[in-house]
Amino acid sequence: MNKKIGFLIFGIVVGALGLFIVNKVGFTVKERPKLINTMLEMDKVRGLLSDYKTACGNYPTSIVSYENLSEKVKNKNCVEDAQKGNFSDKWGNLYIYKSDENGFRLLSAGPDWIEATNSKETERVEKAE
């Protein structure tokens, strides 16, 4: 009899503790909107640059904006823009874009403008004014 009451009390305590934790902590996922949205945008831009190369035979020398590049690819417009772009990542910093006949490099330096060159070494990226 005492054993049964012991199990009952144990069950109630564990259940109450579980409910408390679920209610207090909840089920939440770690949100990293700027990082992941920037990575997703860069993926889309890489796809657009590849389409641009197919349509125009070369990569653009600069990117004005995502919408501008998207329109150019859609309309197969290969005319380079005279205006300087303001193509920024989700932290509001300009993307780093370089291209030549062999390929392109598209980088976001992240919030702190430090480019991780490998796991142990980091390099500060020069911020264009």
Binding site: V22, N23, K24, T28, V29, K30, R32, L35, I36
Partner: protein
């Protein structure tokens, strides 16, 4: 009218975003998100507690927002609305079935939500900013 921010603009922005999100995610229809200081890079959160889900929006959005901030807010609300719609088990099942995406350092299910909320943000951008369909 009783809004959290003195001018009331943010709450109105959030409720308009919820109204748009409810067309895609019926469960969020009429919900009232709370403003909380979430800290760090976190701008939104959906908590699944004992008394049902709760959508939380970062208090950094309080105040009068410019167009870029409004679009960011719409994106956040659409993202959290998907979590809200799927519920506790839907989120759990989504994460487990989609697996871990090493490149993004997150669950594939979660990366997909970022992607879909980005697409939906573009879909509703003009309507949200101009208040027209």
């Amino acid at each position: 009218m009783s809004y959290i921010d003195p001018s009331g603009f943010t709450k109105e922005d959030v409720l308009r975003a919820i109204s748009i999100a409810s067309r895609e995610y019926s469960r969020v229809s009429g919900i009232n998100p709370t403003f909380t200081n979430l800290g760090g890079d976190t701008v939104g959160r959906t908590k699944f507690g004992l008394f049902g889900p709760e959508m939380q929006i970062d208090s950094a959005y309080l105040g009068v927002l410019n167009d870029a901030q409004k679009i960011d807010l719409l994106n956040t609300v659409l993202h959290e609305s998907k979590h809200y719609q799927d519920g506790f088990w839907g989120n759990l099942a989504g994460e487990l079935s989609g697996g871990w995406n090493k490149k993004f350092g997150d669950w594939q299910y979660h990366v997909d939500i970022y992607n879909s909320s980005s697409v939906l943000t573009e879909k509703y951008r003009n309507e949200y900013l101009c208040g027209k369909k």
